[in-house]
């Protein structure tokens, strides 16, 4: 029998459709069918200046907008050959780590709902809301922040932000304990996730998986450690790994990652304090990066550059660059080909959800229908990013 799961099934986290070929309750073949949310972002980017594409990136993985912003900016910065100041990098680290906590909180809540544990959702979304209002304070938007810019930030962080972040980061470990008290030793949770959707380390590598799935399978690969960017090599944190590679291992990896993220965020806050709660928030390179707003009002040269960059965009050298970050869902990378004009010749997105979803048949074939829900939840997909 062939069963059609989705594209409007509540547990497929958006418009994912899976065609399941069944023998009784056992899955013989599973085929994910995607593209329902395809909006042609890669094509559209070819018609926009680099800065105009930043809001697009928010809409890919809309659960973690700032990680997408960061990957985009790092790739363009690599193409331009510029590096933002240490203070900017610390702010980026702080905000993307909060993003990781928020993304994992959403994942945990929805994954638990899928498996019948409704309560966790209300707890995790409480903390997620706090992060969203931090976004709001920083950028004016709760979800589509678009706060990072090529060469720096859209504007400086508002006063009082660091205290607020610090309070949140200090409280967070206790909240994670709270979540864990609902799930980690819960016999139903264990029964539904242990030994389900197993991916071996060898398969995980061959299928190009990244993020918590790869680490859940016991491969210690975290781009923040192994290919550091934005100064991650100077932060002290551990990379949690699983053993078996089942849904429960992925759960444990993500929970541990939330704790590690609070550690990193705390270090980043201290670093920003050291470098100045307010200060320069962009590279001083007027050829590519907008001058600080304050300067535009006082310097003729800055005003001219401001006008030029706003009117035409900036012109990167002809060439190509790929840069990636460890986004909450895995390796998120952008590949740019530039022909020397103000618009990219080609923008390619390496979205972790797309690649991780490809391994779904590997996880569920031979298993039971009910386990498909656990498998999809444990991959942590966002269809906006799968389909782009």
């Amino acid at each position: 029998m062939t069963l059609n799961m989705g594209p409007q099934h509540p547990s497929t986290h958006g418009v994912l459709r899976v065609a399941l070929e069944l023998d009784g309750e056992t899955i013989v073949r599973a085929k994910p069918l995607i593209g329902y949310l395809h909006t042609g972002m890669e094509k559209q980017a070819e018609y926009k200046t680099y800065t105009q594409s930043i809001p697009q990136t928010d809409r890919m993985d809309y659960i973690s907008p700032l990680s997408n912003n960061l990957a985009f900016c790092l790739a363009v910065e690599k193409l331009l050959g510029i590096e933002p100041p240490a203070r900017v990098q610390a702010i980026r680290v702080l905000l993307t780590e909060l993003t990781r906590i928020s993304s994992h909180a959403v994942w945990m809540g929805t994954h638990a709902i899928d498996l019948g544990a409704l309560t966790v959702f209300w707890y995790t979304f409480r903390e997620r809301e706090k992060i969203l209002s931090i976004y709001e304070q920083v950028s004016g938007a709760r979800m589509t922040a678009s706060y990072f810019r090529v060469g720096g930030l859209a504007m400086d962080i508002p006063g009082g932000l660091l205290d607020r972040c610090e309070k949140f980061v200090d409280e967070m470990p206790a909240h994670i304990d709270e979540y864990e008290s609902l799930l980690t030793k819960n016999p139903i949770w264990l029964a539904r996730t242990r030994g389900v959707a197993i991916v071996s380390a060898k398969d995980a590598i061959a299928w190009g998986l990244s993020g918590p799935i790869l680490r859940g399978s016991g491969v210690s690969w975290d781009m923040r450690k192994n290919e550091p960017y934005s100064g991650y090599e100077t932060y002290d944190f551990d990379v949690p790994v699983g053993k078996v590679g089942d849904a429960f291992d992925r759960y444990q990896v993500r929970v541990a990652e939330m704790r590690e993220s609070t550690k990193i965020a705390k270090q980043a806050i201290a670093r920003i304090r050291e470098l100045g709660e307010s200060g320069p928030y962009r590279v001083r390179d007027f050829k590519y990066v907008l001058p600080h707003k304050e300067e535009v009002k006082t310097s003729m040269e800055a005003l001219i550059h401001h006008f030029k960059i706003v009117a035409h965009g900036f012109f990167p050298p002809a060439g190509e660059a790929y840069a990636a970050v460890e986004a909450p869902k895995g390796e998120l990378g952008f590949y740019f080909v530039s022909d020397g004009s103000a618009r990219p010749w080609r923008m390619k997105v390496r979205s972790p959800s797309f690649i991780n979803l490809q391994a779904l048949p590997l996880m569920v074939e031979g298993g039971l229908i009910a386990d498909v829900i656990a498998a999809i939840g444990s991959i942590d997909i966002v269809l906006g990013e799968v389909d782009r």
Partner: protein, 187 residues
């Protein structure tokens, strides 16, 4: 310890003396890139994956680029990753406009399956030997290859009562309230 791109190239030239590798040059080429002829691609990839020194066990992504009006027009690009040494290396294959066919590497890295489908979907580049080369993101009945440079960025007008021929406004009194027909242009 990362392996230098020079060393990778040296290993490849040692192993495949008859293959014409070409190092990619560019003003701002930020990653070491080697151009490989299409017919040697699978052997080169298998070697890069299995060689005990290089061990490029993972293919994080691959994709296509259209360089119209350049000849050859298309390129497929492969980003390789060696986890033990944290090294990345990029391979490229150049493909002519008339017959953009390249052998699939899904036998080397199964992850290439969906990437190649996506590249086929966007550019019409054919991956010979691929088990299921069908459209992935676009509808099955889509005509054309949207990411080619000669494919314009446009969109279909949404069908409402006021702009669909044959659909009449139910009440004549509403007719004057109906919005004027707007003509959309492709950007």
């Amino acid at each position: 310890m990362a392996i230098t791109p020079e060393r990778i190239e040296e290993r490849l030239r040692e192993r495949f003396p008859q293959v014409a590798f070409e190092r990619e040059h560019g003003e701002a080429l930020r990653d070491a890139t080697l151009v490989v002829p299409a017919d040697a691609l699978v052997d080169v990839c298998t070697f890069l994956r299995d060689d005990p020194e290089l061990r490029f066990a993972m293919l994080p992504w691959m994709g296509g680029v259209d360089y119209m009006p350049r000849v050859p027009r298309f390129e497929t690009i492969y980003n390789l990753l060696s986890l033990e040494t944290a090294t990345r290396f990029t391979l490229k294959v150049r493909l002519p406009e008339e017959q953009p066919v390249v052998p699939t590497v899904s036998g080397v890295w199964p992850t290439a399956g969906w990437h190649e489908r996506e590249t086929y979907d966007f550019y019409g580049i054919v991956f010979s030997g691929h088990a299921d080369l069908t459209r992935i993101l676009l509808p099955e009945d889509w005509l054309g290859w949207p990411l080619r440079k000669d494919s314009p960025l446009g969109y279909e007008e949404v069908a409402f009562t006021h702009n669909t021929p044959g659909r009449t406004v139910p009440d004549p009194a509403l007719k004057k309230l109906a919005p004027k027909k707007v003509k959309y242009r492709a950007q």
